[in-house]
Symmetry: C2
Subunit: 319 residues, 2 copies
């Protein structure tokens, strides 16, 4: 983990840990926001991608990498590959938001689109990877990806220490669980008294339920959520093996609570957070756990949201 | 100046100096954004306010301070006073944006409102200050205010040095000119090869014209601008004495260019910038000076913008 941190220092943005005196007054607590929205590519995903790509063998690097993602992992892999001069192929649904397609292309990746309804990205990915000898970079179930994301936790521990304080609670968004697995491992070593909770959207609270059950459970099909970035079907194998040991529990929030958190981040922190990136802040602001008199950290994991959606949420116009 | 930096270290947020690989590619340059939007109270004004208030004598501190401002200076003084346990009275127009009134009250200041059309804030301020023996904290024409704002320049120099680079150009928004006076003094010492330019809205380009004329010129009455925070009538006496020596020149931008810069900051940096805070970025993005092949820094000086206005600008809806 420290090793990942050494690779990433001077490459990633050491994102600020912000607090707002005005918001603290309202809450009767100290709430810190770890702004991974300000990371390169607009999300923490760049950390894990860069860490993983930098560990590939020379042969793997020259053959190139493959990732499938419609969002933040795609951009993270594309930029890391560009910086490390590794050819990258990204499989994206042909109906991905244009801005995400454009950003991924902008980082020099080769984008292959597919029809989500008719084609399987796994099959297509395997075929492409085999044909061109590409290394598949999974979004979370990969040791180097998790330890890269864990550098967020190392920074949090260091930034709290610089202030001469320790926190009581840390909440992080969870999709496949790579961010919170890395962060919780780091904090367990560096700040072992912090209780760590995952945050998920209602209907996609597979980690919450899996933690309670002690085994990996999938989400019921048919749910919908604003939080596109973290609508994963079930916890990862490697990530859950860690998270079941390190987490205190899981929290779930509604879309309305997520939107309120996005507005609060605009107002108090001047930060743009995407829906999936705002669920940890939403869990704390909506009182899912009592933080009065305590010091709490919420990770804002990404900021890649379309202007139209952000604009509507800001003024509470119905989507 | 270093002295101010020592007072402020551990009190202010060391705001990040961000860059976007995607935006750099588009510009053929390296553009860094110094995000003072993430400063306490949402603007750089807190730095100068805290520095000034911390220098008052014990008698001045216990009697209290007075400021007049409808915006960022009010919030900066109010929070600095609250942190230093100094009573603060802020004179604000009764038609100030409710959010700014609420924030200022929220920091524990006593707010006195006046009718902008019928009363003079200077007279009212003098009367109040005399009656209660309050110390007036001017927004820019004050040595400690300027040197407090100059800590932004010290951070920029240090942050560039950490990256092992030096910049060619730095652009900062200018209202009364306190920020750019402090920043330019700091950079002149710490990074003397940087050319420093002010940025102002069209119609309020008094510093640009004053620099060209070699004397303080006022704006023509009747102009309008989106940039409420920097619609000052003419350069300050003390600030202009510095800026005429330290600046390379002035740049002016249209409201449309400012709005485009706010959208670019949302897209590339996930940062909320208010119109007056975005003029430096606007000057660079709209090509007022050629930065191709160069390293440039734009200061984003504040982020206190109403959600309705920001929402409209984001989706290019007419205000």
């Amino acid at each position: 983990m420290r090793d990942a941190s050494d690779v990433l220092r001077h490459v990633v943005v050491e994102t600020p840990l912000l607090e707002s005196p005005a918001l603290n007054d309202t809450l009767g607590a100290r709430l810190f926001l770890k702004c991974e929205t300000l990371q390169l590519t607009g999300s923490f995903k760049f950390r894990g991608a860069y860490n993983t790509l930098s560990r590939l063998s020379p042969a793997q690097k020259s053959a190139g990498v493959l990732a499938y993602s419609s969002g933040n992992h795609a951009q993270g892999v594309a930029l890391a590959a560009q910086m490390l001069r590794i050819p990258a192929t990204i499989l994206m649904p042909e109906d991905s938001p244009r801005i995400k397609l454009a950003n991924t292309l902008g980082y020099g990746a080769k984008v292959v689109t597919y029809d989500r309804l008719k084609e399987s990205r796994e099959e297509l990915g395997e075929r492409l990877a085999a044909a061109e000898n590409l290394t598949l970079i999974k979004p979370y179930d990969n040791y180097y990806v998790m330890s890269g994301q864990g550098s967020v936790g190392i920074e949090i521990a260091e930034q709290l220490k610089e202030r001469g304080i320790s926190a009581d609670i840390c909440v992080a968004p969870a999709g496949g669980g790579g961010l919170i697995a890395g962060v919780s491992l780091a904090l367990r070593v560096l700040a072992p008294t912090i209780d760590i909770y995952s945050a998920e959207p209602e209907g996609f609270d597979d980690l919450l339920r899996s933690l309670a059950a002690g085994e990996r459970l999938a989400n019921e099909p048919g749910a919908s959520s604003l939080c596109d970035a973290i609508m994963t079907p079930m916890p990862g194998v490697l990530t859950f093996a860690i998270n079941r040991e390190t987490l205190k529990g899981g929290l779930a929030v509604s879309d309305e609570e997520t939107k309120a958190a996005m507005r609060a981040a605009f107002h108090y922190f001047k930060c743009v957070i995407e829906p999936g990136g705002a669920v940890a802040l939403a869990a704390l602001l909506s009182g899912k756990i009592d933080i009065r008199g305590k010091i709490a950290v919420a990770i804002a994991s990404g900021g890649n949201v379309d202007p139209e959606l952000f604009s509507d949420i800001l003024v509470e116009r119905d989507q």
